[in-house]
């Protein structure tokens, strides 16, 4: 179940599980946020024997974690090799289906796209991750829905995709099966600190005592951490997707390109997103709404160009999700200096695919104070020390108009 295009892992996931078992026994961890980041962290910690409580303001996976493209091919991340090691085993480890599938194809319909993809292929090959370049004819042989307009593409011999909604629930259920508790409809309202540590988390469900806290609340991390005197620079935006009725199954469902990300689901639906985002204000209680816009039409066009042989398929739904970005767009995975038992994780656009590994990293930070399998120094919060208050304006990342819900 390993990939031909990746380094061979030195240890099986089962061995890792055996190694961590019992390492966090008696530790009480409260996790703020039941998205994929918080749930994966909770699951890893429960596997280590910790007593885990997850608090979410709504239903697990209701925000970005249940609304994303399901892509899992983030070669740029220091978590990538760990993600690749874990994903093929997640169904078995969790006990629930995630629909994980291996490998990806990215196909071009303009010369500019093809150039871009060739650059990315080389970048990956330089890292030791195998990418094969494909001609238009090779693509057409592998992607039955591609058309004469396809100029070529690339075949990632690694990476993949999974079903976000099913995966989130799989983490949640697996966590419960290990004795973890999940409180839904239970927004966190504050923290109780003592001696430089958070000793309890307050939520509408009550006061939850803890030895350690993980803050994985997506865009709401900023306001929550501000309560602890820690500034986390984040800006949130809306991103949109569409989905069609089922198409005949393609041999590799993880096909995208033409400025789109997405996948063919195991049912056959084509689910794709891409294009402009809208920067929004962040509200402590969460987004007042997650509307889609007429961008649906532009997405439809791109999908029809990507798969001319699917242009007759009906689009059956559009949706949107809110995703937060740090000033450089990269994740923050870091344990705070003060309060020293708080770990923060914000994943920007790569949190779903990397989730099997991000949970491991958070587990390591919470239990051991440092990550055992990769370097995370460049994902520390301190890289934004001294960033100006106007960092959003400098980038043009502020909401374009005041949100009418304000």
């Amino acid at each position: 179940m390993t990939y031909v295009g990746m380094p061979t892992p030195s240890e099986t996931p089962q061995e890792t599980m055996a190694k961590i078992a019992g390492t966090a026994a008696k530790m009480k961890v409260v996790i703020v946020g039941g998205g994929v980041s918080g749930l994966s962290a909770g699951w890893w910690l429960a596997r280590s024997g910790a007593s885990v409580t997850v608090l979410d303001k709504g239903i697990v996976g209701w925000e970005a974690s249940g609304r994303n493209g399901g892509g899992a091919s983030h070669y740029q991340s220091p978590l990538f090799e760990e993600e690749q090691r874990m994903w093929p085993h997640m169904d078995a480890l969790l006990g629930y289906p995630t629909e994980h599938q291996q490998e990806r194809l990215v196909i071009a319909v303009t010369p500019k796209q093809l150039n871009q993809y060739h650059y990315l292929a080389k970048m990956n090959n330089d890292m030791g991750y195998r990418v094969d370049l494909l001609t238009g004819d090779q693509v057409r042989a592998m992607v039955p829905l591609a058309g004469d307009n396809c100029l070529g593409g690339m075949h990632y011999r690694f990476g993949g995709h999974a079903n976000p909604q099913r995966s989130v629930q799989a983490y949640a259920w697996a966590l419960q099966d290990l004795g973890g508790r999940i409180y839904q409809h239970s927004p966190v309202t504050g923290f109780e600190t003592e001696g430089g540590k958070v000793v309890a988390v307050h939520a509408t469900s009550g006061r939850h005592e803890c030895d350690a806290v993980v803050v994985a609340a997506g865009p709401q991390i900023q306001a929550l951490m501000a309560k602890l005197g820690v500034e986390v620079p984040l800006a949130a935006a809306r991103a949109e997707m569409i989905v069609t009725e089922p198409a005949p199954m393609m041999p590799i469902g993880g096909v995208d390109g033409n400025g789109l990300y997405g996948r063919q689901t195991l049912r056959g639906n084509l689910a794709y997103g891409g294009g402009p985002h809208e920067w929004l204000e962040t509200f402590e209680a969460g987004p007042p709404a997650r509307p889609s816009s007429p961008l649906t039409r532009n997405l439809a066009r791109r999908v029809a160009e990507l798969f001319p042989k699917a242009a007759h398929l009906n689009v059956i739904r559009s949706w949107a999700g809110i995703v937060e970005n740090t000033p450089d767009g990269r994740p923050i995975i870091d344990r705070m200096k003060a309060p020293e038992n708080v770990t923060v994780i914000t994943m920007s656009g790569v949190g779903f695919g990397l989730s099997p590994a991000s949970g491991h990293a958070v587990r390591d930070l919470v239990v051991d104070g440092q990550c055992s399998f990769t370097d995370l120094a460049k994902l520390s919060l301190s890289r934004f020390d001294g960033i100006g208050a106007d960092w959003r304006e400098q980038r043009g990342w502020q909401p374009q108009k005041a949100d009418l819900a304000a």
């Binding site: 239903i59 249940g66 070669y75 740029q76 991340s77 629930y96 289906p97 796209q113 150039n115 871009q116 650059y119 890292m127 259920w173 099966d177 839904q184 409809h185 935006a237 809306r238 991103a239 009725e245 033409n258 400025g259 990300y261 195991l266 891409g274 294009g275 402009p276 985002h277 709404a289 509307p291 889609s292 816009s293 007429p294 961008l295 649906t296 039409r297 532009n298 066009r301 999908v303 029809a304 242009a311 398929l313 009906n314 689009v315 059956i316 809110i322 450089d328 767009g329 990269r330 656009g349 370097d375 460049k378 400098q394 043009g396 909401p399 374009q400 108009k401 949100d403 009418l404 819900a405």
Partner: protein
């Protein structure tokens, strides 16, 4: 660090296009309510656009969109041009509207309403998105009037997932507007006004009516209508229910009732209730309220949008439609086996739904099998959108038209609460399934194309970790950003 001098070329900015045309009034739906509204607008000298989706394309009818046609339309519906004529002739007011200066577009559906509000501020103005058989486009309005009517309420029972099980509104559409009903002999489920009217209409149009089945002990509708049905020698089967529809390759051939009676019919007409068509209101994030006397969820106060006719709520006769349909759902639920289909598109059975089990193409390991709606309810009140994600019920091409309401009823029953205790599964645009090529904006602005990126267009995001803070970082950023406006 990468900074864009205060502008983000990949943000939505002003990339969303202005509408192709603007009207003082746009009316969606050309039933009696929409026609009256359009005529009133024209009478005041306003520019008025009136759109109606009829005639419905054959392919959509085959998917029970927007009504539960149950495969009982004749081949006449395949002839789009003839259908257009038939539909136009069936409603003399259409011609009157045109003469009054209303721009009338038939065969045109409204699939979305977009306006700035919570979570979106990038629209140049409020628009309605339209599509016909050739293309999609958007129009602007000062006033939007929704007159979208009501759609069929479907509640499953054994054998309902075959041709020949249809809804009363679809029957009315085929008989009164399309002259294209393929059935000969029908059994009607329900006995409130809808069912009584359906029986009388069918009879008037020469269709044999084998009877009306009513779960309660007496006919429910208007006494005069019930008398008219009796006078036509149409029997009522009281305290009874369809236990099974039995059929062959062409669908229903007969129905076995709970009482044991077996009735030869080619069509079962579900006439338990209608649901106000609030898809557009719900998809635009508008307000809605539950009103059992007016057919279920109806639009609340929504600035700039007026709802008229059945979509604003059925006429209040003091009858509790929601209580009535819940009673039917309980009875038909008892008559259904665990393998009775709930969601036809995705073939989700009652057992799968109540067990929150994944579709059959996925494995169901032991922990998965141990999960159920009951275990999920321990985590909080059930939410149909969550159940949908797990079971796929309501995720198919009919967009939940056949199962949304019954799933909501089943969840309410499972949670031991009233109907409204469980939220309604959300509607989203496009509220009609539309082909990619029709929905597509083929006249995309240069601005949109130039600013397009697969994700946010933040070049630092894609730099391999090991190259961050090295000279290679700049190189990657430039090369990656160079490829943008894909």
């Amino acid at each position: 660090m990468h900074v864009n001098n205060g502008t983000d070329p990949h943000a939505i900015g002003t990339k969303l296009p202005a509408p192709e045309a603007r009207y003082d009034v746009v009316v969606v739906g050309a039933g009696p309510a929409g026609l009256a509204a359009a005529l009133a607008g024209a009478g005041e000298g306003k520019s008025v656009l009136l759109v109606d989706e009829n005639p419905i394309p054959g392919a959509a009818m085959g998917n029970d969109v927007p009504l539960l046609f149950g495969g009982r339309m004749t081949t006449a519906t395949q002839n789009a041009e003839r259908m257009l004529e038939t539909v136009f002739m069936s409603e003399p007011m259409l011609e009157a509207a045109m003469e009054a200066g209303v721009e009338v577009l038939l065969g045109t559906s409204a699939w979305g309403v977009y306006r700035n509000g919570p979570g979106v501020t990038g629209l140049p103005e409020s628009v309605v998105a339209l599509a016909d058989k050739d293309r999609g486009w958007i129009v602007g309005y000062n006033q939007l009037i929704l007159a979208t009517g009501a759609r069929d309420l479907a509640i499953g029972f054994p054998g309902w997932n075959q041709p020949g099980v249809m809804g009363a509104a679809a029957l009315e559409r085929l008989l009164a507007h399309y002259e294209a009903f393929a059935g000969k002999r029908v059994l009607i489920v329900g006995s409130h006004d809808l069912a009584l009217n359906a029986a009388l209409l069918a009879r008037e149009k020469g269709v044999e009516v084998a009877g009306l089945v009513e779960v309660r002990s007496a006919p429910q509708g208007d006494a005069a209508l019930a008398d008219a049905v009796r006078a036509a020698q149409i029997p009522f089967y009281l305290e009874d229910a369809p236990a099974e529809a039995i059929g062959g390759i062409d669908g229903v051939e007969r129905v076995r009732l709970l009482s044991g009676a077996v009735i030869d019919v080619d069509t079962v007409v579900l006439a338990i209730g209608l649901v106000p068509s609030i898809e557009l209101i719900d998809a635009m994030g508008g307000k809605r309220v539950l009103d059992g006397a007016r057919g279920g969820y109806i639009p609340g106060e929504n600035a700039g949008v007026t709802c008229v006719g059945d979509c604003a709520g059925l006429a209040d006769t003091g009858f509790d439609h929601v209580e009535y349909r819940m009673e039917w759902a309980r009875e038909l639920g008892k008559l259904s086996a665990p393998d009775t289909i709930v969601c036809q598109c995705e073939e989700v059975t009652r057992a799968d739904l109540l067990g929150v089990q994944p579709p059959r193409y996925l494995e169901r390991p032991a922990p998965m099998q141990a999960r159920s709606l009951n275990t999920l309810i321990q985590d909080g009140p059930p939410n149909p959108d969550q159940i949908k994600r797990l079971t796929r019920a309501g995720m198919g091409v009919c967009q939940g038209r056949r199962c949304r309401d019954q799933v909501a009823m089943m969840l309410a029953m499972a949670a031991d609460g009233p109907f409204g205790s469980v939220p309604l599964a959300t509607h989203r645009a496009p509220v009609r399934p539309l082909p990619l090529r029709i929905l597509a904006d083929w006249e995309e602005s240069e601005d949109m194309r130039a600013g397009w990126d697969v994700w946010f267009g933040i070049p630092t995001q894609w730099v391999p970790y090991r190259d961050i803070d090295t000279p290679r970082e700049r190189e990657h950023q430039e090369a990656i950003a160079e490829g943008w406006s894909l």
